[in-house]
Symmetry: D2
Subunit: 452 residues, 4 copies
C-alpha cells in the first residue's frame, strides 16, 4: 500500500481513487501540510484559546501564537493553497481543486485557527476570489495583495436582519451614488470576521437599482473600509453559547456610510453575478473541512472507547451496546461523503464551478448533516465531558450546525437537486417508450403473450 | 462535458472521477454494452418472463429469447466481462475491476437476465473464478471452458439448513474419501441456480476433517456433476412470493453422492481458503448491480411523478409532499454509494482483494440498504401498481433484500469494519499524546494558562 | 401487576393506561379471544394454507378449517367484535372502539385468517358499516344480515386502473340510471375479496353526475351482486409475488352491468359521503392489526436470537452486534404506536370519527412504517429463512407494505396532519404577541434592559 | 370537545386518554398552572435573563423577578406539585404521577426558571424526595422543610471527574468516620445547582466501605452544608458554551470536608439504595419537561413558517420543501412520546417505580432524542437566528442534549430494555412449541400436508 502520510493519518479508503490525480508538487505539499499541522498547529490550538482573554478585550486581540504560526506557514510555502492557479493564473497556487480538497480536510481537523494559519480561512478566501476575479487593478493592489499576504483580514456583508436573506432579492440595504461617492445604508448581521481587529474591509452587498425589472440586476457590491465613519458594529451574534472571538459574527448597521465610487466592484448591477461566482469552490472547502472535523471526532472517539480509565462494568466502552456499529457507520459515512466532495472537486477541475452545480449541491446538503451525526456519536461516547469546554466536540458541532443554513439552507439545495434531476424525466420517458415499442415487436416476433 | 453514452443514460456525477482511469478499449466496450442493453436486452425482459411457463414446466425451460441474446452478446464481444485479465491472465478480459464495476451497474438495471446474456451472472461468475484460480487443468477443461462458453451453468452449494451457516465452521455436510471416490452427505438450501436445466455442476463445500484443530482446515470443496445419483433437489425456496425460476434457490439433499477423487478442488482442507478467495470481486459485482437497480428505480420514479395521467388534485405527483426531496436524496445516495464501490474496485485493482477488505466490507453493508430505500421510494410513487406484477420494482426489492444477509449478514460486516477501525486506536492515542506533550511545551513557552 | 392474559401474551406497557377503561364484559371477551386465538386459531394457520390448493382451483376453495373455526367462534360469542354498539345500536356489540382496538391487535398477530374466523376481516367490516349506517331496510335484510352472519362475503370496488384514484374525483366508472335500472361501466383493480367463491356483492363507486359543479356530489355507490352479467374478473393482482387467494385483489371490468334501482345506497350523489364515513374506525383496525403483526414478529425474533441451534462463532445471535438494541427499539416503537392508536380509538369513542381525524391520520402514517421496520428487523435475524415460505414474516411484510398507500398514501396523510397543525399558527402567534406585550411591561417595571 | 385550557394550549391528542384519570383538584390545578405560566412566568423569562449580570457577579445573584414569582406561585398553591401524596403522605401534594406529568410538560415549555418558580426544579426535587423518604426527623427539619419552603436550594454530588461514573461502583470519593465526624475527600464535577448563592447543602455520594464484597453496599450518602470548610468550587462546566448561571454545573473538590455523624443518610452502605430510589419519577419529570420543550419549539416553528416577513421567492416558508411534512412528523413524534411517558407515569401510580422500570427506561431513551430532533427542525426553520441568543432554541437543544447521558447514557437504557425484553423469550418459545404441537395434531386431523 502507498506510504503517503495521509494514509497514516486517516487511512482514507478513497486514496486509491485520487492518488493518481495528484501532481508530485501536490503530493509533497500535502505531506508538508500534514507534518506542519500535526507537529506545530494542533499542539498550538489550546494555547491560542488560552491567549484569548476572557473579557471584552478578546475582541481587540491578535493571538500571538497564531501570528507566529502564520509566519512559519508562509516560510514553509503552505500559503493560499485554496487559490487554484488554473482558475487564477496570476495569483494562484499550482494545485487543482481536488488536490486542495484533500488538504482542506486536513485543515478542517484543527478548527478555524488551523485554516487561518495557512491563510485559507473564510471569509477571506471567498473575498480574495472575488477581488482576484472581479477587482480592478487598483482594488487588487490595495486590498487583494495585503489579503494574499495575510496582512489584513476582511468581511463579507450580505445577510440582513429582519428579512429572509437566503433569497437575495429580499435584500434591503441601499447602495446609491451621490456625486463621486457611494452612500450605503443597511442593517446586516452574521457578518463573520468583522469583529477582528485586523479586519480592514467589508464587501457589502446592497440594492442599487431596487426597481429594475431584472431582479438579478438590482444588486451591487462595494468595498467598505472597516474604519469608515458610519460602520457601527452592534454586537457579536452567538452560535449556541460561543461568540467565536476575535472574528465573531457581527450585527452591523451601515449608517450613511460613504466610500469613493472606485470602491464599486465590477460595475453597477453586478452584485448578484459576483455572489454567484463566489460560491462554488468555497462550498467544497466548507465540506472538506467538515469532513476533517468528522474524521477528527471519530479519532477522538476511537481513543475514548479504548481508554482503560473509562471502563464500566468491567468492559471497555467499545465492548458495550452499539459502539462498534456506530464506529463502522461513521467510517462508512465519512468515506462516502469524502468521495462525494472529491467528485465535485474533480468536476470543477474539469468543467468549472458552473459545470459542477449538481455535484456541489449534493455535497452541500449531504456533508454537514453527516458530520453532525458523526460528531454527535463521538460526543455521546465522551458523556458530559463531550459537551463541555474540555473537549472541542461541542464547539465543532455548533459550527457545523450553521452550515446547514449558511450559503442557503439544506432545503434550498435539496429542492434544486431534485428539480435538476426531474429535468432528466423527458429523456427517461423517451427511452422507456423506445423500449416499449421494441418490446411489442419482440412479443410479436416470438409469438408469445405476457402473463397477467 | 464528456459525451459518452453513460452520461446520457444516468448522468452519473462520479464519471469525472473515473473517466481518466478507463482504457480506450474499456470506453468502447462500455458504450457497446449500453447500446446492446438498451436496444436489445431491456426490450426483451418481459418477453423472457412471458416465455417462462406458469406451471411446473417452468423449471425445465431454457428461455428462447435469452438463448438468442447470449449468442448475440458473444458475437458482439460482450462476454465474460467480469473476469479481469490482470487477475486471470489466461482466461480474463482486458478490463480492470473498476472498468467492469461501471459495466456491472448497467447490467444491474435489467435484472438477472441482463447479466446472464453476457455470461456475467452469479453464481457462475464466482464459480468460474474458483475454477480459473484453483482448478486443475483437467477440471478447467471439463468445467471451466464450457462455463466460459456459456454452454453450461453451475451452482455453489454452501448454505445449510438447520444451522447458522454464516459461520462456516458450523457446516455439517460430510465429505470423505472412500477408495478412489469422494462420498458426500449433507442437507443444503438456498442453492441458487441448481434448478436450471442447464446446471451441470455443483461446487459443494463440506467437512472433510471435522476434528482438525485448525478450524479453517476442516473444510474441502468438491465438484459434483448435477446428474450424479443421490443429488436430490427437494424444492425451490421462495423469496417473498418469487421462486426465481428457472434458476431458483433450491433445497438439496446430497445422499451418499459419489464422485471421483479428481473432483476435489485444490486439495484436502482447502475449502475455507477457496471460499475466502471467491468473495471479494463478487461482492463488488453485487453492489454495482444493486446500484444499477436503484438507478433504474429512480428513473422509473422520474417518469411516474411527471406522468400527466397520474395527477391528483390538479397537480403532478412531483408537486406533492416530499417527492422532490425524495428524488434529491435518492440521487445523492446512489451517487455516494457508486463512489464507494468504485473506490473499492480501484483498491482491488491496486492491492488485490486482500488489500481492499475494508473498502469491500463498507460497500457490502452500505449499498443494499441504500438500494432498498431508493427502490422503496420509487414503489411508493407507483402506489399499489408498484408492488404488483405489472412493475419490476417489488421483485427487484425482494432480490435486493436477500443481499442484506447473502455472503454474511450486514451485522457481520459492520462489526468487522468497526473492529478494523478500532485497530487504528493505538496510533491515534500515540498521536494525541505527542500533541499533548508539545502543547505542554507551548504553554510554557508562551507563558500562558488554559482557561478552565 | 394485573394478571390478565394480555399481560402474559405481550406484557404491553400500555395496559396500565387502558385497563381502567375496559368494561367487565370487554375484559372477559378479550381473555376469551386470546384463549381462542392461541389455542385454536394460530395452530390452524399453516393447516389452512395447506388446504388451499397450489393450482388455479385455489380460487374456488372454501378452506375447511377456516369454516370450522368460524362456527366455533360464533359459538363462543367472538363475532363481529368490530361493530361498536354505541355507533351501531341495532347490530353492534357492546364494545368501545378502544376495547376492540386491543382485540384487533390480537387478531393481527395471526394474519388475515385470524380476523376472518371472528368475522372481523376487511373489506367485509367496512362494508357492513356502510350497510348498517346507510343501507335501506331492504338492503340490510338482503345483504347486511348474511354478512353479519358470516354466510357471504363482499368486495369494495373503488380503486381504478389507469388513473390516480387516491383522488376520488378522478374516478371514471360510470353509473347511470336507465329506466328502473342502474347501468355500470368501469375498470377497477385491487378489489380485495372479489376472488373469493363466497363473495356475493360488490359495493361499487362510480360517477353518476360527472358534470356536477360540486365535485363531492358527482359520485354514487351501488350494490352489485357478484354474479351479475357483465362483472368480469380479469386477474388477481399480486403483492410481492403473493396472490392472497382465495380472496385476492382483483382486476375487474364492469361491462354494462345492470342492477335494479333499489341497489343504490343512500341516494344519488352520496358516494363521497359514504366513503368518507367508511374510513375512520377501519383505519384503526388496520393499525392495530399491524401492531399485532409487529409484536408477533418481535416474539419470533426473541425466539430466534435465543435459539442455541443458531449460534455463530460460539455466541447466541442476541450476543452479536446491535441485536439487543434492535429489540429494545422495536419494543419501544411498538409500544408508542400502540398508544397512538389507543389514543385515536379513545378519541373516536368520545367524539366520533369526525372529531378524531388528527389522531386517526397520525396513526395511519406512523404505524405501517413502524411495523415494516420491526418485521424487517425480525426477518434479518432469521437470515434467508426469514424471507422464505417457511416463515410468515415476508408475507406479513408485503401485506403491511400495501398499507402505506391503501386508503391514501402516507404523503397525503402527512400533508393533511401538517396542514391541520398549521391551523394552530394564528392562535400561537396571538399567544406569543400577548407574552411579548407583557414582557415589555415587565422590562419597564423592573427597570432592566435585555443583554444583546 | 373538552374545553380545558390544556386543549387550547397544545391540543394534545392524548388528552382523551388521560382526562378521565384526573381528579377535579388536578384539573383545576392544571388550569391554574397554565394560566400562571402563560400570563406571568413566560413573559418574565427574558427579564430574568436580563437581571442576571454579564460578568462574574452572575454567580452571586438571586434574580429578583424569579424571587417574586416564587412568592406568587406559593400564594396560588402552585407549589411542590412533583411530590405525590400517595408516595409521600406527610409532605406530598394530592396529585398522581400522571397528573403531575401533564403539568411538568407545561413547566418544560418555559425552561428551567419556569420549574423553579413552582419549586419543582432539579436537583432540588430529587433531593427533597431523598430527604422525605430516607431522612431522619432531624435531617428533615433542618433541610427538607426549608427546601419544601423554597428558602434554600441544594446540589446532588455524584458524578466524578477522571472516571466513568455512570457505573456507580467506579466512584472514588472517600467517606469515612473519624470519631463523631465524617470526613469526605473527592473530586466531583457536573454538580448542578452548586453554583447558586442559595445552595445550602450537597448530598454527597462516596465510598465508605470500598472493600465490601457486596459492591452495592460500598457507598454511603452524606449531607454536606455548602459552606463547610474544604468544599472548593473549582469552576462551572459549560454545555455548548452555556454556563447556566447562577446554578451552574460545578466542578468541586471535597478536601478533608468534615461533617457531624448525624449527617449520614439512612445508614452506612445505603448510598446505592438511595440513588436507585431517587431515579424513577425524576426521569419522568425530565421526560415531560423535554416534551414541553419540544412542543414549545414546534409552536415557535408554526409561528415562523407562517410569518409573512420571512417569505422567500414569493412563498411562505411552510410552502417550501418538506416543512409541512416536518411539522406533521414533529406533531406525531411529540404525541407518541407524550403517551409513552403518560404510560410510564400511570404505571408508577399503579405499581410504584419498581414496577415501572421498563416503561421508565423506554421513555428515558426515546424522549430526549425525539425532543432534540423536533427542536432541531424548529432551529432549521429559523436559520441563523435559531442558533443565536435571540431565540431560546439553541440553549434548549443544548440542555436536552445532556439528557442523552444524564442518569445513564442512552446505550445503558437501551441495553437494559433489550435484555429485559429477552427475558420474555422462554415464554415465547413455550407458546410457539405449544402451537406447533397442536398444529401437528390438526394436520393429522384434517389429513393434509404442508406445501413446501
Amino acid at each position: 500500500m502507498s506510504s503517503h502520510p495521509v494514509i497514516e493519518l486517516t487511512s482514507p479508503s478513497s486514496w486509491a481513487m485520487v492518488e493518481d490525480k495528484f501532481s508530485p508538487f501536490a503530493l509533497e505539499t500535502l505531506a508538508k501540510l500534514i507534518k506542519f499541522q500535526t507537529e506545530e498547529v494542533w499542539p498550538a490550538l489550546r494555547v491560542a484559546h488560552a491567549q484569548l482573554p476572557d473579557d471584552q478585550s478578546r475582541w481587540k486581540t491578535v493571538i500571538p501564537i497564531i501570528r507566529d504560526l502564520k509566519a512559519r506557514a508562509r516560510e514553509l510555502g503552505l500559503w493560499n493553497l485554496f487559490l487554484s492557479k488554473s482558475h487564477y493564473p496570476q495569483h494562484g497556487v499550482d494545485l487543482t481543486n481536488l488536490e486542495y480538497a484533500v488538504m482542506a480536510e486536513i485543515l478542517g481537523r484543527g478548527g478555524h485557527f488551523a485554516s487561518e494559519v495557512v491563510n485559507c480561512s473564510a471569509p477571506d478566501t471567498g473575498n480574495m476570489e472575488v477581488l482576484a476575479r472581479y477587482g480592478s487593478p487598483e482594488q487588487q493592489k490595495k486590498w487583494l495583495i495585503p489579503l494574499l499576504n495575510g496582512e489584513i483580514r476582511s468581511a463579507f456583508a450580505m445577510t440582513e436582519r429582519f428579512i429572509a436573506s437566503s433569497d437575495a432579492t429580499n435584500i434591503r440595504t441601499s447602495i446609491r451614488q451621490e456625486g463621486n461617492e457611494i452612500v450605503i445604508n443597511g442593517h446586516k448581521w452574521w457578518i463573520s470576521g468583522a469583529g477582528d481587529p485586523r479586519c480592514a474591509l467589508h464587501l457589502v452587498l446592497g440594492k442599487s437599482d431596487p426597481n429594475s425589472s431584472d431582479k438579478y440586476r438590482q444588486q451591487s457590491m462595494v468595498i467598505v473600509p472597516a474604519n469608515t465613519p458610519g460602520v457601527k458594529i452592534i454586537r457579536p451574534m452567538k452560535v449556541f453559547g460561543y461568540d467565536d472571538a476575535p472574528e465573531g459574527h457581527c450585527e452591523i448597521i451601515y449608517d450613511n456610510v460613504r466610500v469613493p465610487l472606485s470602491n464599486l466592484i465590477l460595475g453597477w448591477g453586478k452584485g448578484f453575478e459576483i455572489i454567484q461566482g463566489r460560491l462554488g469552490p468555497g462550498r467544497i472547502h466548507h465540506c472538506m473541512r467538515s469532513i476533517g472535523a468528522a474524521q477528527n471526532a471519530l479519532d477522538l472517539m476511537l481513543a475514548r472507547v479504548t481508554d482503560p480509565a473509562k471502563k464500566t462494568f468491567g468492559k471497555y466502552l467499545y465492548e458495550h451496546g452499539t459502539v462498534v456499529a456506530d464506529i463502522a457507520k461513521s467510517r462508512a459515512e465519512i468515506e462516502s461523503s469524502r468521495l462525494l466532495v472529491y467528485s465535485a472537486a474533480a468536476q470543477i477541475d474539469k468543467y468549472k464551478a458552473k459545470g459542477a452545480l449538481k455535484e456541489i449541491g449534493i455535497a452541500k446538503f449531504v456533508v454537514p448533516s453527516m458530520a453532525l451525526e458523526v460528531v454527535d456519536r463521538a460526543m455521546q461516547s465522551f458523556g458530559a465531558e463531550g459537551v463541555s469546554q474540555d473537549q472541542s466536540l461541542a464547539q465543532t458541532w455548533a459550527g457545523l450546525r450553521t452550515l446547514r443554513f449558511a450559503d442557503g439552507p439544506d432545503a434550498v439545495h435539496i429542492q434544486q437537486i431534485g428539480q435538476r434531476e426531474l429535468k432528466r424525466a423527458p429523456e427517461v420517458v423517451k427511452r422507456l417508450d423506445a423500449i416499449k415499442k421494441k418490446e411489442t415487436g419482440l412479443f410479436e416476433k416470438y409469438q408469445v403473450k405476457a402473463h397477467f
